[in-house]
């Protein structure tokens, strides 16, 4: 859905999304990195299972909810990427207690 501008000189940061390696940049939020990854990163809602992607990118809509390093329901648009971060896409109600 999104592509990176060429003049971006920020340092690469490696993360995994559903086990696949994705190169993000330092300063990206998780949600931005997902949108730029080219992967299918649609979550499924907890109510009907409808597919969603981030909508507001400023912390208000909660459509970017994602599991980060095993902790679910994080707002991907507020969390910066870190080297080695493991991202899982939430399909429906988030499992607890893993």
């Amino acid at each position: 859905m999104f592509k990176r501008i060429e003049e971006d000189r920020r340092k690469p940061v490696e993360i995994t999304v559903e086990g696949q390696r994705v190169t993000a940049r330092e300063g990206d939020t998780v949600a931005a990195a997902l949108l730029a990854s080219g992967l299918d990163v649609r979550r499924r809602t907890a109510v009907s299972g409808a597919p969603r992607l981030p909508y507001c990118m400023m912390g208000v809509c909660f459509d970017c909810l994602v599991t980060i390093d095993g902790v679910g329901n994080r707002q991907g648009c507020l969390v910066p990427v870190r080297e080695g971060m493991k991202i899982e896409i939430q399909k429906g109600r988030r499992e607890i207690g893993r």
Binding site: I5, A32, L35, R42, C56, V60, F62, L78, P80
Partner: protein, 469 residues
């Protein structure tokens, strides 16, 4: 990563234009000041990622963006304690503030609280607005500023208001492609706004705005007078149907960016018990404030767009007025070396010049505020306009009663994306005013916190003492 102390003279919530200006001034006056902000860096939404943006060519994001740099530098020199990545999830009448930062939570107190949580984009509930690929224009601008991302594929921007044109101009300047801009501004609004044009023409926004619109029209196709929008697709937005001057058109689309202005972000203030009223021009809730921007909760002030939409320049000026009020209350001697309250208020009036013209011109039309049929209103709980009308028919009288019928507003966003729609929709269905219908009763935590964070909440001094005794 936690606040250095348990109690501050002033806590400022939000590091956008208002918060930056306010915190810098109170800190310079010698008041212990804590600035709390949810993002990774200062700037709020207008100056998003100003210290880290990969878009370094200054002409691309424009002068108004880079103007924020000075305020950030001012703040850093001021001595204020700055906590980024800090989510404020609670504020109450005792001026106790619940903060979540770096996976841990804590409670602090302040003698004065300045809420500078700004604005959010007005809900734009058209059919298909929950489809992947549909985002707000603000969202696209956020990733553009903070990560240098440009929309890819067939891109349509629809709606109205200054941000729509600014975003279009920025994307085009950066080599991005926009297939179509759909302007939903109601033609009749021009007539309503015209009597107030004189003030706007002399405001700093006028010439810049005109130039930007010309720039966009030169580079991409613009359709004005759009009266309906319907997005559709299976699992992702695929097409957009729109109507303009009675003519229906359908275009293929991969990215649809929506925007119809911004409204105050009221959640924290309302949950603290701050009284709000319905603003019938800006079509939103606005806090009741006195001359020092103090709310109905003593000691809590609101600055910036959260006090009613005024834009970035007004936010800076309002932030200083509020800071001055806090200084006068807590350390009156320090006020002598600062600009006078009167001068600061004059600056606000100057910055707000022309606002009424913009408000009237970009007042969104009813069909884009109050949807019909099966259009989703509450995105979290997936409640449609028809569901709400049905609930009204069987006895739901207001947003809080509606919760019992349909759970609208009870999801994680706490009504941020449906609250205004629900109020206006129920008002229409019950032939009442929005003021009579009211709003969701908002509750802390205004942002979700993890049970583990609450379980590990550090004991307050008082609690520790109680145990020791």
């Amino acid at each position: 990563m936690t606040p250095a102390r348990d109690e501050y003279d002033v806590a400022v919530i939000g590091a956008g234009p208002a918060g930056l200006a306010a915190a810098a001034l109170t800190a310079k006056a010698g008041l212990s000041t804590l600035l709390l902000d949810e993002n990774q860096g200062p700037g709020g939404q207008v100056w998003r990622a100003i210290t880290t943006t990969p878009v370094q060519d200054k002409t691309l994001l424009g002068k108004d963006y880079w103007a924020g740099k000075e305020l950030v530098e001012d703040l850093r020199k001021s001595g204020a304690e700055i906590l980024q990545g800090a989510t404020v999830w609670s504020l109450d009448r005792n001026l106790e503030i619940g903060i979540s930062v770096g996976g841990g939570a804590c409670l602090i107190k302040a003698k004065r609280v300045i809420i500078a949580t700004g604005a959010l984009e007005r809900p734009f509930p058209i059919p298909g607005w929950t489809l992947p690929g549909v985002m707000t224009a603000g969202a696209a601008q956020t990733v553009l500023k903070s990560s240098g991302l440009l929309p890819e594929g067939r891109t349509v921007i629809a709606g109205q208001g200054p941000l729509l044109w600014l975003l279009s101009a920025q994307i085009l300047r950066m080599g991005g492609k926009i297939d179509l801009v759909l302007d939903t501004t109601d033609k009749r609004n021009y007539r309503r706004a015209l009597p107030h044009a004189a003030a706007f023409i002399t405001s700093p926004y006028f010439l810049k705005g005109l130039a930007m619109m010309r720039e966009v029209r030169r580079k991409t196709r613009v359709v004005s007078g759009v009266t309906s929008l319907v997005a559709s697709g299976e699992g992702h937005v695929e097409s957009l149907s729109f109507e303009a001057k009675g003519k229906k058109t359908t275009v293929p689309v991969d990215v649809l960016l929506l925007h119809q202005g911004v409204v105050p972000n009221v959640n924290l203030a309302m949950s603290a018990g701050v009284k709000h009223h319905w603003d019938d021009i800006q079509l939103c809730w606005a806090p009741e404030l006195d001359g020092k921007a103090e709310t109905s909760v003593p000691g809590v002030h609101i600055a910036g767009d959260g006090a009613g939409i005024g834009g970035a320049l007004a936010a800076v000026a309002r932030g200083r007025v509020v800071a001055r009020a806090a200084i006068d209350a807590l350390k009156p001697d320090a006020g002598a070396s600062l600009p006078s309250a009167a001068d600061l208020k004059t600056a606000v009036a100057k910055a707000e010049k022309g606002r009424l013209f913009l408000d009237l011109l970009f007042r969104p039309t009813k069909q884009f505020r109050i949807p019909s049929d099966d259009t989703i209103v509450c995105r979290c709980e997936e409640v449609t306009a028809q569901d709400i009308r049905d609930s009204v028919a069987v006895g739901a009288t207001g947003p809080n009663q509606l919760k019992a019928y349909r759970r609208a507003g009870m999801g994680p966003c706490q009504g941020r994306l449906c609250g205004l729609t629900v109020t206006e929709l129920m008002a229409e269905a019950r032939s009442k005013t929005p003021e009579e219908i009211g709003y969701y009763r908002l509750r802390a935590p205004v942002k979700p916190i993890m049970l583990s964070e609450l379980a590990r909440l550090p004991k307050t001094d008082e609690a520790t003492k109680a145990v020791v005794r």
